[in-house]
Symmetry: C2
Subunit: 209 residues, 2 copies
């Protein structure tokens, strides 16, 4: 059992005063944040956490009873944890569409890759158009945009014209096009500081899938 | 309905050849990744996605039937989506302990903050020591380390000495200490490229909690 450290009363008082000031400043700042809006959210960069963070948000939506949907642009019939959990437990709140055919080096067929990306995007458009669906996760769609399998400008034009105002759309994958980053409301770049693949560790359940 | 674009046969063949080469190189590379290991995983940086990605991994563990646990070091009794979903649906597989008392500027009480951090860490140690638990998420623990409420070296010494070899421990929060980054197996820095708070948008359900 750790012993709680003794803190001198004057340190305690100084801390309380500093934090009271910080809270006041923060409260003033937060008072200006009153808007609600369906966000275009981008997770990009080479680091881990782009898809898992997207699925974390989908789980939060489910917890709040918000209908949501996932379209996977690369992963196909793979038995991933996210697929198993969403289809097995929450099919009533969250639609799950794995439209991918695998990585480009697996299919080795460019027209098949393009057809899969286009089919995924058609499905995505239907889901985004439905105002009852509050969040649509387009997992790995940035890969399809980067290879030019989908036209980035067409995707942005659609989002600008047809996304209902309160719907969140999350786009994940490396190499998000600059125009998408420009247009998005929330962009995080996952930077790889260290990755265990480099130490010979393979993809493991729970962590990567 | 999008029309599938025509691709010249020679382009198609070139693509197939290039991808076959890429696959061969990748297969050779992946053959060297055979290890399995319980990882120390760090999500840090100012960007969004540190906690949500941790919860995404917890969901993957649950999907694979792997017992897991969450200790929250800042969030207390807040009704977050993650708390609601995990305690409401998956209490049998995932323990959930919200040990926080709120942000430092909310408690305004340093000894109370330290006591909460220490209680969280005691709970974390019990969970990590149990080899049946396959992943332990220490949500926002980096904040407690950064303020010195927990001793980083003591945390690292414990992980080195007592973490079972196959247990994953995920530590999230800004400002992870350098020694933790050094010791970890997988480190991602979430960089903030753009955040909607700046545009006056408040924290929204599904996205932030």
């Amino acid at each position: 059992m750790t012993q709680t450290r003794d803190i001198a009363p004057e340190d305690q008082a100084r801390h309380a005063q500093k934090m009271a000031k910080k809270k006041a400043a923060r409260d003033r700042m937060m008072e200006t944040k009153t808007g609600e809006k369906g966000l275009v959210i981008v997770h990009t960069g080479p680091g881990k956490g782009k898809s898992s963070s997207g699925f974390g948000m989908i789980m939060r939506c489910i917890a709040h009873g918000m209908p949501c949907a996932v379209v996977q642009f690369i992963k196909g019939a793979w038995d991933t944890g996210e697929r198993r959990l969403l289809t097995g437990h929450f099919g009533d709140l969250c639609q799950f569409h794995a439209m991918g055919e695998g990585f480009t080096w697996e299919t080795q067929d460019k027209s098949r890759d393009i057809a899969a990306a286009e089919a995924g995007w058609e499905k995505a458009k239907d889901l985004i158009r439905d105002p009852a669906i509050r969040m649509v996760l387009l997992d790995e769609v940035n890969i399809a945009l980067r290879y030019g399998y989908l036209d980035a400008q067409a995707v942005l034009d659609f989002l600008a014209a047809e996304k209902p105002p309160m719907t969140h759309v999350v786009l994940t994958g490396r190499g998000a096009p600059e125009a998408l980053v420009e247009a998005a409301d929330l962009v995080t770049e996952m930077a790889m500081v260290k990755h265990p693949f480099r130490a010979g560790i393979k993809a493991q359940p729970g962590v990567e899938f």
